[in-house]
């Protein structure tokens, strides 16, 4: 399936804009989403870490993405 993934902060620069399109296999996990991202945009490997939020919550690596999920790349936060 093809999904949209939003990006903030340095992730926006790495993917070259606020939204990227990813081709995922069916029942892809967050872990696989991260792999696809790192392959498509090697600069993700230079980050301290990054997380994926699904529908405005952090999700673990084994969460299975379903059609309609709102995916967002969360690079290391630095608020406050």
């Amino acid at each position: 399936m093809r999904v949209k993934i939003r990006a903030f902060g340095i992730a926006k620069e790495i993917v070259g804009g606020p939204v990227s399109q990813l081709d995922l296999k069916d029942k892809a996990t967050i872990s696989e989403v991260k792999d696809v991202l790192s392959l498509k945009y090697p600069d993700f490997s230079t980050l301290k870490k990054f997380s994926i939020a699904v529908n405005e919550s952090y999700q673990d690596d084994d969460y299975v993405v379903t059609e309609g999920d709102e995916l967002v790349i969360i690079p290391p936060v630095s608020g406050g």
Binding site: I10, V72, P75, S78, G80
Partner: protein, 141 residues
């Protein structure tokens, strides 16, 4: 009881009195506040300005989680968290956290928990601008 949680993300100047007024409570033994402002230097490098970008809808949710944990764990009477976004000059206020609680020790602990947790979980990103470029804070190892 009225829910005493006040979460705001705003590109306008933050006002300490707004946060204090919100948490004020007749039964409060003390109000602890944290105010974070923009530093003029980072690791010896002169900062010109900075920008905060937020994933606002999720940031609000994560801030509310912090506030609810505080109401629960420290029996706080009120909590107000205001975070700034957009461009900030040196000395401007980036974040204000105010907590009122029956006992002042609890207010201090809760306030410290809030800022510590905010810096780990809330999707807000700081970009520091120098004479010779800019960096996303904490992005790289």
């Amino acid at each position: 009881m009225q829910e005493k949680i006040d979460i705001q993300i705003s590109d306008q100047e933050l006002i300490i009195d707004s946060c204090y007024s919100f948490v004020q409570h007749e039964g409060a033994g003390g109000n602890a506040l944290f105010v974070g402002s923009v530093r003029s230097q980072t690791s010896g490098k002169k900062v010109i300005k900075l920008e905060f970008e937020a994933f606002e809808s999720m940031a609000r949710k994560e801030l509310r989680k912090i506030a609810e944990a505080i109401m629960d764990k420290w029996q706080a009477l009120g909590i107000s968290i205001h975070h700034r976004t957009g461009t900030l000059a040196i000395g401007e206020i980036a974040v204000i956290i105010a907590v009122s609680a029956p006992h002042r020790d609890a207010a201090f602990e809760a306030c410290q928990y809030a800022i510590d947790t905010l810096k780990v979980t809330v999707p807000i990103w700081k970009r520091e601008y120098f004479d010779d470029g800019a960096i996303w804070v904490a992005a790289h190892p």
